[in-house]
């Protein structure tokens, strides 16, 4: 198992390198002076032209592009993702500050989508070609097709404005100095649900397809022949096998989840990375955007790794 993870990690190295390369191209494309971009405003305020030139050669910016690339990787590995144009902080700090809320929202949405998607997909497969199957197919297709920002607006219109059940945005009631956990959950539900709806479609579809294949397998008949009740056969024997291919689907969906976070956090004023991205784009704060793009891509690679490891944990045949 450990050697499997190791090998899988090794395969990711060229991809991570490619991500660094493309991100570096983005940095090069940015308007403005990269030296200044890497400096904090205090540094900039006191910097003489000589100092800037000195920094330039320190950073190797007068050297060939490949040397610059290497130097840039060095900076990134040390955690220096540049300085915000707008704010007096290193980009890394800004991102670190926002990662918590995003993680909460993303994990909640992913869990909701997985539970509902897998259940719907499983029952659709068990009742193949029934009205339930048909309805769940059409509904999940609609869930993928409705743009998340429109869905978010409608959710706010219906649940927050018309019915007044949920708050229109934010992470907690601002007036309350020490908001309760319930208050946080209350704020979390609507954005998480909207985000989840966009993810459910593929989960339903692939779970159904995978489950349809699995319940035709001989070992399902064997389990039934042992006298195991049907639902126990489905969830005890079928589901685990059906979930193995689903891990890949979840990993493939992660970029879509990140895209959804950007939109949903913006609409619901959720103080996470997505909202930061939007704010940075509005403020043309390029170093922040590049850093977020880079970190997102690295995260996607790591998540793919995690998905493969999960698949290996689920399927003893891969572990070899």
């Amino acid at each position: 198992m450990l050697s499997y993870v190791g090998r899988r990690l090794l395969i990711s190295v060229p991809v991570l390198f490619g991500i660094l390369g493309i991100s570096f191209i983005f940095v090069q494309m940015l308007p403005g002076d990269p030296v200044r971009a890497l400096m904090s405003p205090e540094e900039l305020a006191t910097a003489s032209p000589e100092y800037i030139e000195q920094r330039r050669s320190e950073l190797g910016l007068d050297k060939p592009i490949f040397v610059q690339f290497a130097a840039w990787i060095g900076e990134v590995l040390q955690g220096n993702l540049g300085h915000s144009f707008r704010r007096n902080t290193p980009v890394a700090d800004m991102i670190f500050e926002r990662i918590g809320p995003t993680a909460i929202l993303a994990i909640t949405a992913l869990s909701i989508a997985l539970i509902i998607g897998v259940l719907l997909g499983t029952f659709a497969a068990l009742k193949q070609n029934s009205w339930f199957d048909y309805l769940s197919s059409v509904t999940s297709m609609m869930a993928v097709s409705i743009p998340n920002f429109f869905l978010g607006l409608m959710a706010i219109y219906i649940f927050s404005i018309s019915l007044g059940i949920f708050p229109t945005g934010g992470m907690r009631t601002l007036a309350a100095s020490n908001p309760s956990a319930l208050d946080r959950v209350h704020h979390l539900i609507l954005p998480a649900l909207v985000l989840a709806i966009n993810l459910i479609g593929p989960y339903v579809r692939y779970t159904r397809q995978s489950m349809l294949e699995v319940i035709r397998q001989d070992y399902i008949t064997t389990a039934r022949a042992k006298g195991v009740p049907w639902m126990k056969v489905v969830f005890g024997h079928g589901l685990r096998n059906a979930l193995i291919p689903l891990t890949t689907v979840i990993a493939i969906q992660v970029p879509i989840l990140l895209t959804g976070l950007l939109v949903i956090e913006t609409i619901f004023s959720w103080p996470g990375l997505g909202r930061l991205t939007f704010e940075s784009i509005m403020g043309r704060d390029y170093p922040v955007i590049v850093a977020i793009v880079f970190i997102s891509a690295v995260f996607v690679v790591l998540f793919n790794l995690l998905a493969d490891v999960t698949a290996a944990a689920l399927d003893p045949r891969i572990r070899l």
Partner: protein, 320 residues
């Protein structure tokens, strides 16, 4: 051999139940309606199956109508979509303005019709360019294999790691918003899907007997591509192109919604929805945001249903 079919007895076979299942599957592959189906060519059968897919046919109808409206928009629009009329400020739907007017007094219906032009142009152009690029690289990977294939596939992995909306936002922000930029940027980050499929198909086609024999006879790579690969690659590619265009439309809409779409004051569906980020509009003026939202959702849903119908038509084993 005698004219009778010689059946070796005992025939090694699996259980009777599975025999039926396999026979059924073969029959479906042939065309679904038993003997009557055998006379038709695969493409005719695909067309026939597609026409039996009711949702897909309805979607094609709706999309054709939309395309017609978009093409004719300058002729049929009741008003100039960009004509500011301060006298008609946020008017609700009326006889003069069927869908009301927006904050600048512009006619919502006219803007909706013109918005369709942008959405469809971006959807079609981005999907075609992404599919073209993906096909080219996929064929190269499939034909040359070895390190060429390895490099292309790693590049695919790298590109798939970036969350599309975020990276496209960054590039559009740097390069400046325009329809062309949006198309190019979307295509640049959506090609990997097509590339993967083409590579997979061309790799499997390569191993088929007729291609092996063609190679043995000394056919060049290009001749093999032309004669043997276009056919098998086309069906999955059509499906991918369809889904890519749905994606592109969603991406463009999201870009415009976030304020980085086509140059103002041009009408786009996403841009029209942007107005609803104001609570007053969201709460009190649904005619401003409901029509463009429904338009995007209906268009994307139709394209997805069409893609689904195509998938079923080409490969009936993989159902919705």
């Amino acid at each position: 051999m005698s004219e009778n079919v010689q059946t070796a007895v005992p025939v090694a076979g699996r259980s009777d139940e599975e025999g039926i299942g396999r026979r059924r599957e073969r029959e479906v592959q042939k065309g679904g309606n038993g003997r009557a189906g055998q006379a038709l060519s695969p493409s005719r059968l695909a067309i026939r199956r597609f026409r039996h897919h009711r949702l897909a046919m309805a979607s094609v109808l709706l999309l054709s109508l939309l395309l017609l409206l978009a093409v004719l928009a300058p002729l049929i629009s009741p008003y100039d979509p960009n004509a500011v009329n301060t006298a008609a400020y946020r008017e609700p739907p009326s006889g003069a303005h069927w869908l009301g007017t927006d904050s600048a007094g512009r006619d919502v219906l006219s803007r909706l019709l013109h918005g369709a032009r942008v959405s469809l142009t971006v959807g079609i152009a981005a999907a075609v360019s992404a599919t073209g690029l993906g096909t080219l690289l996929g064929l190269i990977a499939g034909i040359f294999r070895g390190w060429v294939d390895a490099i292309i596939m790693r590049v695919v992995d790298v590109f798939l790691s970036f969350p599309p909306l975020v990276v496209i936002l960054l590039l559009v922000a740097i390069l400046g918003p325009s329809v062309t930029t949006i198309i190019v940027v979307i295509a640049a980050f959506e090609w990997p899907t097509a590339c993967r499929i083409v590579r997979q198909v061309s790799l499997s086609v390569r191993e088929m007997d007729y291609v092996l024999s063609a190679r043995a006879m000394g056919s060049g790579s290009l001749a093999i591509v032309r004669r043997h690969m276009i056919g098998p690659v086309l069906p999955p590619l059509t499906v991918v192109a369809t889904l890519l265009s749905a994606n592109a439309i969603l991406l463009e809409a999201a870009l415009s919604f976030l304020g980085l779409g086509v140059e103002r004051p041009n009408a786009t569906w996403g841009g029209m929805l942007q107005a609803a980020q104001s609570m007053t509009i969201l709460q009190e003026m649904p005619w401003l945001w409901l029509p463009p939202g429904v338009a995007i959702a209906a268009t994307v849903l139709s394209i997805n249903f069409m893609g689904d119908g195509l998938r079923d038509a080409f490969d009936p084993r993989q159902r919705l």
